[in-house]
Amino acid sequence: MTDLELAHRAEEIRGRLYRTALLYLGGEAAALDAVDETVYRAFLSHRKLRQPEHFATWITRILINVCNDELRRRKREPSMAELPETAAEQFDALPLRDAVERLPRELRAVVVLRYFSGYTLAETAEALGLPPGTVSTRQRKALSLLRLELGDEKEV
C-alpha cells in the first residue's frame, strides 16, 4: 500500500476511528489526539500490511493500542477480574455513556467496536487479536453490565 492509498483509506475511516476513540477514552481532545497518532503510526508501518482488505481492522488495532497507552498513562484501571459483584447495579445507575467509559478496558473495547463503531464479531476479533469466542463472551458480559439488550442484529 502506498502513502496515497493509505491517505484515501484513512480519510474514509477517520470518522469511525474518532467515534471509537471518543467512547473508549471519554473526551474529544483525547480522541482526536488518539486518531492523529493512529494515522501517523499507520503511515510509518503500512509496509507491513500485506492484505489491504484487512486495512480497517489493522488500523483499528493500532487505535486500540494507542488508546490503551493513553489509559495506562492516565491511571490504573480495574480489570475484569476485579469487578465487584454489585457491578451491574452500579453500572445501571450511570448514564449509558458514563457506564461504557467505566467498563474494564477489555469489555469496553468489545462493546465500543461492536455496538458503536459498526464492526462485526469477526472484525472485532481480528482488530483486538482475540478469538471470536472470547469476543462473544466479553460482549455478553458487557451488555449484561450495561443492561443493554442488543444482539447481532443491532450492530451499527
Binding site: 484513512a10 470518522g15 467512547l23 503511515f43 510509518l44
Partner: protein, 431 residues
Amino acid sequence: MDRMLEYETLLASLDAQAPGLDDLVPRALARARRHRVRRRLGVPAASLGGVAAAFVLLVNLSVPFARACSSVPVLRDLAAAVALSPTLRAAVEHDYVQPLGLRAEDNGFAVELSYLMADRGQLVLFAVFTGPEEYDAFLPTARLLGPNGEELPGWSAVGTSVVPGELSGALTLIYSGEGSPALPETLYLECAVECYDDDRPGEWDAAARFTFSFPLDEQFRDQGTTMEVDRWLEVDGNRIRVAALEIAPTHARLVLEQDPANGEELRGLEFWLEDEDGVRYEHGSASGLSAMGDSYLLESPWFAQPEHLTLHIAGARWLDKSMSCVTVDLDTLESGPLPEGVTLTGAQRRGEDVELSYTAPVNQPFLSRITLPDGSEAYAGLGLTQRPEEDGSGLYRGYLLLKDYPYDTVTLQLNWTRTTDFAQPLTLDLS
C-alpha cells in the same frame, strides 16, 4: 431514560465529527515523512521544517550541487543522503568521496557499505541496511580496528537509526584522542547492528555482525588544518578560552578551555561562525553529535575557504559546581533546588515502574544519569523522553521512566542548572 432509547440517542450524538478531523490525514502524513527523513539523516526534529522539499530545491537551485548529482549519476542517492548537511553537501560538490562498494550478510541481514568520506578527525560511512521485512529501523555501532585486530585508540562510533533499504550516513567514527590519529592504509571495521520493530516499541534486538576491510584513499587520510586562536572571553560571568578552530573537509571543531576558577561549568554553547560574505557555519554535525567535552562540532568552511571568520555566541548552559545533583522524593515530589525553570509535575507508579514527569525551558534534558538509594548509578537516556508542550508556553515536557524501581527517592545527576540567551550575541574575530 429507557436504556435502549439512551443507546439510540448516544449513537446519534457520536455522528458529529470533531473539526480537527478535516486536516488529520495530511497532518499525519507530513509528520510521518518528517520522521522518516529524521531517522534517515539523524538530524534533530526542530531543524526539519522544509525537509520534504529540501533536496529538490537544492538540486534545482544549487548549480554545483546539481552538477555533482547529474555528472555522476551514482552519487544521486548520496546527494539525497547529505541534503541536510551543508558540510557533506559541499564535500559531494567537490567529489570528496571514496566509493567502497562492499557488501556483507549475516543472520538474514545485509549491509552495503557504499561510500566513505574521511579526514584526519572523522570517518563518515554511507551504507544501506536490509533485513527481514518486519523490521522498521536499524541501528549500527562499530569499532575501528588496526591490522592486528587491535582497537584503534581515540576513535568512537556514532550510529544513527536508519530505515531499511535507503542509503544514509549511518555510521560516523570520530577521533577524540590526543594529537592527530595515525590511520593505517587499510581500515578494519567491526560493525554490530540492532533492529527495531515498530510493533514492539522500545525494544532493540541484536541482529547481525559484519566485518569489513578497505583501503583508505591517500587523499583523505590527513586532511585538516588548525587555526590557533588563544583568546579569553568572559561569558555570563565565567572565563572561557577559545583555544583553536580545527577545520577539516567533513567537520570542524571549536576547541575551548574553561578557567578552573569559574563558579559554573560550561555544559553547552549556542554559537555560529560567519564569514566575510555573511555565510553562517552552524553548531552541529551530520552525525547529530554536537560536542565532545569542551570541543564543539560545527559545519565546516573547508571548501568555502573564507578569509575571515567571526565567532557569534548566542547562549550557554551552565552547571553550578556546588549543585551537581538533586534528590527527589517520589511520593511527595519534594526535592532540593532544581535547575532554573524546571518544575517536577508528577511521579506515577505503574506496576514495578515509576514515571517522573517535569517541564523545562529548553530542549536539552537537565539530567543525564541517576543514582539509586543503594548507591548504584544508571544512565537515564533510554528512559528519558522530552517534547515541546502543545499549549504554546514554549516549555518542554519530559518523562523519566525508572524501570523496576522499588525505591521512594531518586537522585538526578544534573546536566545544567542555568541557561542563558544573549539578546546581543557575543562576537570574537578569529581571523
